[in-house]
């Protein structure tokens, strides 16, 4: 199976653990992801003003690249990239007037009408690879690891790009089930982590993020799984500050879902990249004798 793949900027720098684990897992599952030959930043957020079309050009150009590569779908990992590509795609598919303006502007590109389907990696795992196939290939199930399923905003809102129907919370649950972990549902699974306000109003964003961690811990989770590098920054990298200021009492291990997949498939250190996670993430795996090869030697 060969599939067009859009990585996005952050996966190449600050979220290598999200990408490395995904690519190694796909290789182990016999799926070939073909990175787009030329891609640009998706713009990270979708423009919401009716008169602002220029910001749709970046994600649409990425979709045109996928079409040029002869693919009818493009798979993404980062939640924000997924959201901005999928929403730009809907405009090109459904809005005749905006489509014409954008196509006319992109003089050198082939006209685009929403031919490519934007698919998030979790949907791809469920629909194309199959959770049963994954379950059959799991070498080291993550037995006894209680993981909160965190979706955040951009995988779930707005409704027309949600990775599963509104109110449905099966996808992450079924994924964790396939890799042998114990899914923990919690009230803040769809609550925003504070997003880009971590730059403009860091105190406000950290308050919101701390509330999510507290909610997950109170629901009995020992760790939290997510798919967005910005959520990871606010919920994981900011934990030191939160503990220092007394907003949370102790750290909660945060994993990208692809890392749990790679670990369960029995892949090693270079695939799982737990060295890029917080210390407490490695500690919990060690304490439960999980993913031993992937965490061996990481202090």
């Amino acid at each position: 199976m060969k599939v067009a793949y859009y990585p996005g900027c952050t996966l190449k720098t600050k979220a290598k653990n999200l990408e490395d684990a995904a690519l190694a897992s796909m290789k182990a599952l016999g799926v070939e992801l073909e990175e787009l030959n030329r891609w640009n930043c998706c713009g990270a957020v979708h423009s919401l003003a009716d008169d602002d079309l220029i910001h749709h050009v970046a994600p649409v150009r990425d979709l045109v690249r996928a079409m040029e590569q002869g693919s009818d779908k493009v798979v993404t990992l980062c939640s924000m990239c997924y959201n901005s590509l999928a929403r730009a795609n809907l405009i090109m598919r459904d809005d005749e007037v905006k489509r014409k303006t954008i196509n006319d502007f992109m003089d050198e590109e082939e006209d685009y009408h929403g031919e490519v389907e934007v698919v998030h990696f979790l949907n791809f795992l469920r629909d194309e690879v199959g959770f049963d196939t994954i379950r059959a290939k799991v070498k080291y199930p993550l037995n006894g690891l209680k993981v909160a399923t965190y979706y955040g905003c951009t995988l779930a809102r707005p409704r027309n790009v949600a990775i599963e129907p509104p109110g449905g919370t099966r996808l992450m649950t079924d994924f964790l089930d396939a890799v042998g972990a114990t899914p923990v549902k919690f009230a803040d699974a769809f609550t925003c982590c504070g997003s880009y306000q971590i730059i403009a109003n860091p105190e406000n964003a950290v308050n919101v993020a701390a509330g999510i961690l507290d909610c997950a811990a109170k629901a009995g989770a020992e760790a939290l799984v997510l798919s967005c590098p910005l959520c990871e920054f606010n919920l994981a990298k900011k934990q030191g500050d939160m503990i220092q200021s007394g907003k949370i009492s102790k750290g909660l291990p945060i994993f990208y879902f692809t890392q749990l997949l790679a670990a369960a498939l029995g892949l090693g250190k270079e695939a799982c990249r737990f060295d890029l996670n917080d210390k407490c993430s490695v500690e919990i795996l060690k304490s439960k004798n999980l993913a031993m090869e992937a965490v061996a030697g990481i202090a």
Binding site: C9, K14, S47, Q197, A200
Partner: protein, 135 residues
Amino acid sequence: MPIAISEKTIKREFIEKIASLSGQDINRCFQCGTCGGACPMSGEMDAMPRRIIRMAQLGLEEAVSETRTCWICASCHSCTVNCPRGIDLARVMEAIRLLTLRKNENMVEPSKMPAETVKEMPQIAMVSCFRKLTS
């Protein structure tokens, strides 16, 4: 403090601009407050989204601009998906932001960000922040 409303205070142009930028009919709002209840940032806001919409309905441009609500909004769309009147509040907040940003005002200054912050921030954090909060 009571807000005085008269033909003088109602900025019709403000009402029209919000409608055309957001594509939303804010007169549909019946002040139920579901938006603020669903908003993860509401605890950090000085005015609930419901209040912003009411002020916008009445064309109270200055009163809206005195609040920080649209600058605390994280564009998470919780209000949008929960509004029982079908108003896409995320678009209304964007319209209110743009009315300021398009006057060439920035809420964050990219050039003044500490090198340490730039080094640690994921690209998507910076790109989205600059997209939402700079002109």
